[in-house]
Symmetry: C2
Subunit: 200 residues, 2 copies
Amino acid sequence: MRKKSISRKEQILQAAFATVCRQGYYETRIDDVARRAGVAKGTVYLYFRDKPDLYLGIIRWLLSQAYTILQEIAGQPLSARARLSRVFQTWTEKLLPYPGATELIFPEMNRERCNLNRRFREQVLPELRRLLDGIAGIIVQGIRQGEFRPVEPRLAALNFLNAFRTGLLLMSRELRIGSAPEQSLDLFFHGISLKTKGGK
Amino acid sequence: MRKKSISRKEQILQAAFATVCRQGYYETRIDDVARRAGVAKGTVYLYFRDKPDLYLGIIRWLLSQAYTILQEIAGQPLSARARLSRVFQTWTEKLLPYPGATELIFPEMNRERCNLNRRFREQVLPELRRLLDGIAGIIVQGIRQGEFRPVEPRLAALNFLNAFRTGLLLMSRELRIGSAPEQSLDLFFHGISLKTKGGK
DNA sequence: TATTAGACTGACTGGTCAGTCATTATACCA
DNA sequence: TGGTATAATGACTGACCAGTCAGTCTAATA
């Protein structure tokens, strides 16, 4: 009477995450995931209904981890700017080995409501909004305390995600832009800051 | 002795573009494209070697159109800021019916070098760099004329693309952010502007 | 009008892969 | 130790679809 181990599910999730980040959803074979997880294909289907279910599982897992980090930092006694910096930094550290991770989320948003997309909207969008609201909350704090301009907080939050994504992209050196992730964050801060006295 | 018409190729390209923007590459069937273009499947293969070739054709077509618009506006006697505004506006008008268009480019950048990706890097990245350099050129002008801070121009150009993408995303209302595309552009300008006297 | 070159067609094929399920392995209990 | 419930396996299947090609159509030319 063994129990379906949670760790087994986690193990598959982790393998799927790594694979999908490298190859993208459609180039990922369930066999690839199973092999990387060290289980047989059938085992994957003991823990996930079908391929989309596995995919959505990955994304929710990712978002929930991102949210946990955010909440942790939101609880610390810091300025809004310092909080966002720390979130940026922590996320970057975690996702550095998985530069494709940010692409799991956005591309699906501008698509037609096909099979996968419908489930995406139902299961992922709420989590994504929660994360955005978490960031927006920090930004509202910054506005109240006079650190930031009175920008639309959700839009600024979206820009924060963009800055993060760009930071990861810069690390890949693919576009041959000689900038570090921090510069992407810096540009973001300049966009919402009140006082921008002079230079870089 | 009819000739393989250029318009026929254009027609297929247009149909493929519309379809891929709605459904994404992997959910697009060559049959869909053919039907929308009003030709038979086989005809598609008279003009494109295989599916990736069609896909890359779409992207290069898109990038070259974007570049043409950019060049046109770059030739007008305007401030750097006014130029970027006009580019933003023109691009937005053109791509409003195809909100998925921006997703054709970026997701592929953080992926492993599989079949499709290798060809993407060879054929698309140079075009993309050219476009980025075009934007960066306007930004350099702005820096020289004291409109913008001395930011890294290529990074700022990448941010401009992000702002554009976010503008399109806002139009879809999916995230329930009550902002218009212009606000995304505004945030971008704040990030690179020298003088930011007070709030909105 | 007959000829022909090249455009166009769409039924067909072969490979791929998600998902299944009969079988085997394992842990737990009496 | 034998019995049982559950976990795990991996060979198999059926659907799907990119790409093919033998045949048809069309228009320009002689």
